[in-house]
Symmetry: C2
Subunit: 343 residues, 2 copies
């Protein structure tokens, strides 16, 4: 196979967005896939993961990972199939996960650090599952809940962004541990989904507005662990209902990522003092040496039907900008995945 | 001694303050000390502790301790001398610490839970020390730093309200542990005091305005532990300089206690995520079973001259409202104590 005959459509970052990303923040580039050298492979992108964290990567400034540079292919996790290989590590036809970027083909060294390519077993679970429960979001939820949240059986766990990739994992893992699980999500459809299909005990529709009242009703013994994906008013509402020694896992703040005004800090943070409670951040990369343990545990639960992986698939790399907007508009139900090719 | 012959001047809470407490929020009552029954004692107040937390006790609403009721004697910790006793627990002439309230005499059961009376040894340390380094503020600093902050030798510890009772303890204990200690205080006098007299490595005068620049200069290896007594802009500034796995101890927020607007939440709280850092509240009462360990450790350091207890004494119970205002205006240098009687 002559990989250089392949045309590669890429989405590159053209400008740093102000607020929500818009069409002019992207530059579409078509170029031939480059010839590969010794130790290199070409991966054809099948699925790309669309994650709230991507918005942060588009901003300048110090964070847990360097920003995407202007003119650089937008960073994105994905699943692909090896279509050319000069490396003994991966054979043509094998499936891999890694940071493939928003492009049709990834070419580089098989052991490239930034790409972090790993084989995935398409026979064990559908490929998009490796971007969801068995991927970065799932592992974020798994380790964030267990290591930072430290829930005990019988405790009440609240998770926002409950129908998203991280949230659905957190809630389902907490149920496996014997916790009472209350989700917070935008819209009745999402709430119905996490309660009926994923087995959450209750879910509060924040678009209904009455988050505090919902917490009062559905968390009669208060909140022991809050896994926060959204920040803003919802974080403040939960802070009013936490128990003594509660743990708040700060995983994200999707409500604040497109702000043009300063981030809204939690005005009720002194509830941490009153309740001797803790608020702590989590970044999944810290748990890389133990990813396989999370995949093994959740893979088993998936196989036994104790856990589900719901994905919402948008077709076509051309739709990348629109699909990314869907995420911030809360239009997806389940983990949002962009299908770039079918095989 | 007929205690009923004693006149007792009390400051009672007349109204819940809006913003800073004002004269009309207090009612001065003079009444005779009541006759005591079996198991009861009368304590003559010598010194009262003036603490930022008192402002919170004057507000309605759930907190770590019930609010002072309208018409009730204002809550305050103090040191007194037993002047009448029908209890084998305390003899006349013994010194005690406890929640005596803003009044000249306290009368009640020797084992009253709310008063929490304890003997203090006037021979070991001057009495006001038991309201400072060896009292509630000192123990708050000691246990908050050690148990929540968990500093290691060589780490950088920053403490705000550095010249106050809690702050001076935190900084001096951190120095004993081999940390680099940087204070934040209001005014050059306070900064000079903590550096020259207490041995802090540096101190940033927040009234000079350049807190971020000061942190950059004096914390070249970042901030590992931040002990926050003030909240507001200073908390936000420190959040921009924390290290990976930093610990922020939330002890108070004196900048916010007299707010009539909502509390200012920390807009930079997502630094907790980026740095996998932790923010946790501390209430000293949780450590009551181990108070004696803190007193023993710090008592020894005081004796050896490795630690100092600086108090700022205002004379006369009549000056209680003015002295309390001094605290919030930052006019005290050292732990603010009201001397009510001389023996």
């Amino acid at each position: 196979m002559t990989t250089t005959a392949l045309e590669n459509l890429q989405f590159r970052l053209a400008a740093r967005p102000v607020g929500m990303a818009k069409a002019s923040d992207w530059q579409q580039v078509r170029e031939a896939v480059r010839a590969i050298g010794e130790g290199e492979i070409v991966v054809k992108t099948l699925y790309l993961s669309l994650d709230p964290a991507m918005r942060g990567w588009m901003n300048e400034g110090k964070s847990y990972i360097r920003p995407v540079a202007i003119g650089e292919v937008m960073r994105a996790g994905g699943i692909g199939i090896v279509v050319a290989s000069n490396s003994p590590r991966f054979a043509v036809g094998e499936h891999v996960s890694g940071i493939l970027g928003v492009q049709q083909y990834w070419a580089g060294a098989a052991d490239d650090k930034a790409a972090a390519l790993l084989k995935v077993d398409a026979a064990l679970a559908p490929l998009p599952t490796y971007l969801n429960v068995l991927g970065m979001p799932g592992l974020t939820g798994y380790f964030g809940l267990l290591e930072v949240g430290q829930p005990k059986a019988g405790e009440t766990v609240v998770v926002s962004g409950a129908a998203g990739a991280v949230g659905m994992t957190v809630g389902q893992v907490a149920k496996q541990l014997g916790c009472r699980v209350v989700g917070i999500a935008g819209g009745q459809d999402k709430c119905d989904f996490v309660v009926r299909e994923l087995g959450f005990d209750a879910c509060i529709d924040y678009k209904g507005g009455a988050v505090k009242e919902g917490l009062k009703e559905h968390c009669p013994r208060g909140v022991d662990v809050y896994f926060d994906n959204v920040g803003g008013d919802i974080l403040d509402a939960v802070l009013t209902r936490i128990n003594l020694k509660a743990r708040i896992v700060i995983c994200g703040a999707i409500s604040q990522y497109n702000n043009t005004a300063p981030v809204q800090g939690p005005a009720n943070y002194l509830s941490l003092l009153v309740n001797r409670a803790r608020m702590e951040g989590i970044v999944v990369f810290d748990y890389a040496p133990r990813y396989h343990l999370g995949v093994a545990a959740m893979g088993q639960w998936l196989k036994e039907g104790k856990m589900k992986s719901k994905v919402d698939i948008v077709q076509g790399i051309d739709n990348f900008p629109a699909a990314l907007s869907m995420l911030f508009e809360g239009k997806n139900l389940g983990k949002l995945v962009l299908q770039v090719a079918s095989a």
